[in-house]
């Protein structure tokens, strides 16, 4: 808590402020970066990117895949994989209850959605992390869905794209979560050895066990502008080294500068850029040799 928060009177003041911010609820919102008032329908049309400062707001996994894939021919994968509380984990709340809560608030079963669909006509297996579900953390369901979807891609010779947004491995599944890092890395290695492209797109934020496994193993690693990604969170690093972190630390631009990612892709260009990349990567291995991007946009 800063000194200002300590001395500022609590109660009515902050409450009034909050209320004015939220009115009229649902129609107007505020850019978390530049504070510009944003008209919700406009923002939605702009793929949740602030028209004033280009800040990429977080979006749900379902919306992410919806704006990425072609409208037709979608099939959700591995929905049979459901959360299990093997450790009967309980802290101040039961893990089971935390899951139910997340399911209720997000409408998703767990933190990863996998869909077999098309990108400008090209078949693709696309996955996205739901950050609002338990911090997008990777436990059994995330690892297993990723793996099943990747195996399907392997059998059908389809490229894989994954949009990550996560705090890391899920504590409540302990070592089972840790082992999902091993599992997903192993299946990605299999894709690699079979010449199946895998593109990883990091979206704000990507940390911990996911960053140290599937998020950085792409044939191509990309990130959305300004997305934060790293192994250890900034707080942990500051506590360890006891110094302030440089500006822009662990942002997409930092990752690009240090050679961790190939490119930064703005949300508006995601479909075009990934389609262009995948068309080139799959050109030689496609049986008919047809370049999908040539005839369908």
């Amino acid at each position: 808590m800063s000194w200002l928060e300590k001395i500022r009177p609590k109660g009515p003041d902050t409450k009034t402020r909050d209320r004015t911010q939220n009115v009229p609820e649902g129609v107007w919102t505020k850019c978390p970066k530049c504070s510009a008032p944003l008209y919700r329908p406009e923002l939605e049309k702009n793929l949740e990117v602030c028209p004033k400062c280009e800040h990429h707001l977080r979006i749900s996994a379902r919306r992410r895949l919806d704006i990425f894939l072609d409208k037709e021919d979608r099939q959700e994968l591995a929905t049979e994989v459901q959360p299990i509380d093997r450790l009967k984990f309980k802290d101040i709340k039961k893990y089971k209850d935390r899951i139910t809560e997340s399911q209720r608030s997000t409408g998703e079963d767990d933190a990863l959605i996998a869909i077999k669909g098309r990108l400008k006509g090209m078949p693709v297996v696309a996955m996205a992390f739901e950050f609002s579900f338990h911090g997008g953390s990777m436990g059994y369901v995330v690892g297993e869905r990723f793996t099943r979807a990747a195996h399907l891609a392997l059998e059908n010779n389809i490229p894989v794209v994954c949009f990550s947004a996560t705090g890391g491995a899920r504590m409540q599944e302990a070592l089972i979560s840790l082992m999902q890092m091993a599992k997903t890395s192993a299946v990605i290695e299999k894709l690699k050895n079979n010449g199946i492209p895998y593109i990883s797109v990091m979206t704000d934020p990507v940390y911990g066990g996911v960053s140290a496994s599937l998020a950085l193993l792409g044939d191509i690693n990309a990130a959305e502008p300004n997305a934060r990604a790293g192994f250890a969170g900034p707080n942990i690093i500051e506590q360890t080294i006891r110094q302030k972190l440089p500006k822009g630390f662990q942002r997409a631009e930092f990752l690009l500068e240090h050679g961790a990612i190939d490119m930064i892709i703005a949300r508006h260009k995601m479909r075009d850029t990934l389609a262009s990349l995948l068309a080139k990567l799959t050109y030689a291995t496609k049986s008919d040799g047809a370049d999908a991007t040539k005839n369908s946009i």
Binding site: I84, R86, L87, F89, K90, D91, I92, G139, Y140, G143, E144, T147, A169, R170, M171, E173, A174, L175, I176, S177, L178, M179, Q180, M181, A182, K183, S185, A186, V187, I188, E189, K190, K192, N193, G208, G209, S211, A212, S213, L214, A215, L216, L217, A229, G230, F231, A232, I236, I237, T240, I241, L245, P246, F249, Q250, H258, G259, A260
Partner: protein, 315 residues
């Protein structure tokens, strides 16, 4: 309070102090108290056994981090012969938190990779407290790939509070370094046996922890996040670490039940540090057996088994 003993071990410490006192008295006088000493020693052994049979998860964490607990170097010196340490990742530097090299395990050449925390202030700093940076994992990877070329089994000894969380670590791609090891180890064409000898903390441990046989020393621990870290996130205070350790299930007993590890290697009464020689001898015996068994398996079969095993986690 004897600092060589943890707080829950204080009754043992008191008894040991009494024995020591009697010994001194015995040396100075003609009274024969040998019988008494033997009796007390037996009592101390019994007491130790009793305390150690009812350890909580948090107590086990403390033993795994005991200042006298044997480290990778202690085992490398006792388990292997003819050890040549090899340095550097060939790109950036040589990470002292990971020791790597070639040695012999009962005559058979093997590649050895161990995380080393160091003992005493100077060595701890030199070893970065056992927290490897990207170049450490890349050195390990280089040596594992060499093991593959020369058909040498890989033996890893895991003991780390985690990969180093620092600016330089992030700049040089610690995430990628860990991830790359996981990927390559999943298909490395040579047997890999891994043992958690102390503290197996998260990705920093897993990055040298994927193989065909995973063991833990009886009182070592393995977790996805340190109990303090977990407590900080959930309870907003690290003082709840004991509760966090219990909830996460960090001990060899729980992890073997869950099917995460294959084997628990028994420790001497009172933990590995009470008798390093005995501990090293039984570790050696286990490693020889594991490597011998795995070398017998045709390599394709071994890799298929390893892959299936990785895929099965959580099922």
């Amino acid at each position: 309070m004897n600092l060589n003993y943890l707080d829950f071990e204080q009754p043992i410490a008191e008894l040991e102090a009494k024995i020591e006192e009697l010994r001194l008295v015995g040396n100075d006088s003609d009274i024969n108290i040998t019988g008494e000493i033997v009796k007390l020693e037996e009592k101390s052994q019994k007491l130790t056994k009793k305390i150690y049979s009812g350890l909580t998860s948090w107590q086990t964490v403390q033993i795994a981090r005991h200042p006298l607990r044997p480290h990778a170097t202690d085992y490398i010196n006792r388990v292997f012969t003819d050890f040549d340490e090899l340095h550097g990742d060939r790109h950036f530097g040589d990470d002292k938190a990971i020791i790597g090299g070639i040695g012999r395990l009962a005559d058979k050449p093997v590649v050895i990779i161990g995380e080393e925390k160091g003992r005493g202030v100077n060595e701890k700093v030199y070893r970065n407290f056992g927290m490897p940076k990207p170049e450490g994992y890349r050195k390990a990877l280089r040596l594992m790939e060499m093991a593959e070329r020369f058909k040498m089994p890989v033996v890893t000894l895991i003991d780390t509070p985690g990969a180093y969380p620092g600016i330089d670590s992030e700049e040089r791609g610690i995430s990628e370094a860990i991830a790359r090891n996981l990927a390559v180890m999943s298909r490395l064409k040579t047997p890999i046996v891994c043992t958690v000898i102390g503290e197996g903390s998260s990705g920093g441990a897993l990055a040298i922890g994927i193989g065909d046989h995973l063991s833990m020393l009886q009182y070592s621990t393995y977790f996805v996040i340190s109990p303090e870290g977990c407590a900080n996130i959930i309870w907003k205070t690290s003082t709840k670490a004991a509760e966090a350790a219990e909830a996460m299930g960090v001990t060899s007993t729980v992890l073997q039940e869950l099917g995460i590890i294959d084997e628990t290697i028994s420790e001497p009464n009172g933990g590995a540090h009470r008798n390093i020689e005995t501990m090293a001898a039984s570790l050696k015996e286990c490693l020889i057996r594991q490597v011998d068994e795995l070398t017998e398996v045709p390599i394709d079969e071994l890799l298929e088994k390893r892959y299936k095993r990785l895929m099965s986690y959580g099922n």
